[in-house]
């Protein structure tokens, strides 16, 4: 039986994590260590609560009516949701095709994880950090070779409009010029939907 650790199930998110009314499900476990991570609790792989796809489905189906009415559904975040592709696939089998399933991902995972999950997903919200490998590594602790590879694959295996790439201005790590360069590079790759935004340190 597939199991995963989930540290939060957040209901009634209205256009925050995708179209319509969505429930955000956040997995423990992440390959990155971003300086300004919003959910550092996800770094603890043994934290959260253990779910099976069945127990998660039983919990979130309470909002099915809202999902269907607004063309919303479940957005998987974390942590890195694409480390849990079997779980997501089994969840899709339970919820059917009417719910929208999205992932908020860094894409910094093995390509087979992306390729396994892609058939059951409706969309991707990709936090690209910065396309410059040095900036990326300084900010996340990892290199971004897999990010390029996975993004290329997604852009060539499906509608590019199912992907929103978030390009952050990261204080002390990149400049406006770096962000512009990232955007330019991403456009050249075929990305069509962008969300350029500012990390604000409080």
């Amino acid at each position: 039986m597939t199991e995963a650790r989930i540290f939060a199930v957040s209901r009634h998110r209205l256009t925050t994590d995708g179209d319509g009314c969505t429930t955000l499900v956040t997995f423990n476990g992440c390959p990155l260590r971003c300086k300004y991570c919003l959910n550092k609790v996800s770094w603890k792989e043994d934290g959260g609560r253990v779910y099976t796809p069945e127990t998660l489905f039983e919990e979130v189906k309470i909002d099915q009516l809202y999902f269907l009415a607004t063309r919303g559904g479940v957005t998987f975040g974390g942590g890195e949701p694409l480390l849990q592709t079997e779980f997501i696939k089994e969840f899709r089998a339970l919820c059917g095709n009417q719910w929208k399933l999205l992932v908020e991902t860094s894409l910094n995972v093995a390509p087979e994880m992306v390729q396994t999950a892609d058939p059951v997903l409706d969309g991707y919200i990709v936090d690209i950090k910065d396309m410059n490998p040095e900036i990326y590594k300084t900010y996340t602790g990892k290199n971004n070779a897999l990010v390029f590879e996975n993004l290329e694959w997604l852009l060539h295996h499906g509608d590019p409009s199912r992907i929103v790439v978030r390009v952050p201005h990261i204080p002390d790590y990149n400049t406006d010029l770096d962000v512009a360069k990232s955007m330019e590079q991403l456009k050249a790759m075929g990305v069509t939907n962008f969300d350029e935004f500012q990390y604000i340190i409080r």
Partner: protein, 130 residues
């Protein structure tokens, strides 16, 4: 908890639209609750369950449930809840709203991917290495 009240208002409007589209009588009353609002409550949830039962009854009679795809943008405009304006494409937060919390402040409005929970100290978590 102003955000909770706005969520409540929008969800109520969604329920009313579902009832209208499916010819279900749904009598709602103005919420008079004065305290914290999480966006939903037992009364709101009871309305959802009522709608589900009514839709099931109609389906047993061979009627197909109608979900015309309510536009949250339209509902938001109708309810006057400004902060949830979607952007083009796949709606996200407005560009300047993604916040990184480095102190104890929990933002009032959820950010993309942020579950808005108290985050325990994770300084003991080792940093991954290449």
């Amino acid at each position: 908890m102003e955000r909770g009240k706005q969520t409540c208002k929008i969800l109520k409007e969604i329920r009313q639209q579902i009832a209208l589209e499916n010819d279900i009588e749904l009598v709602t009353s103005e919420c008079t609750h004065k305290g914290d609002c999480a966006g939903t409550c037992p009364k709101c949830e009871a309305e959802v369950r009522y709608l589900e039962r009514e839709l099931e009854k109609r389906q047993r009679l061979g009627k197909v449930a109608v979900f015309a795809g309510l536009s949250l943008g339209t509902i938001v405009a109708a309810t006057g809840c400004g902060p949830f304006q979607p952007t083009a494409g796949m709606p996200m937060d407005p560009p300047d709203s993604t916040v990184v919390c480095q102190d104890d402040t929990i933002p009032e409005r959820p950010l993309a991917g942020d579950v808005m929970i108290e985050i325990p100290d994770t300084t003991a978590v080792p940093t991954s290495e290449e």
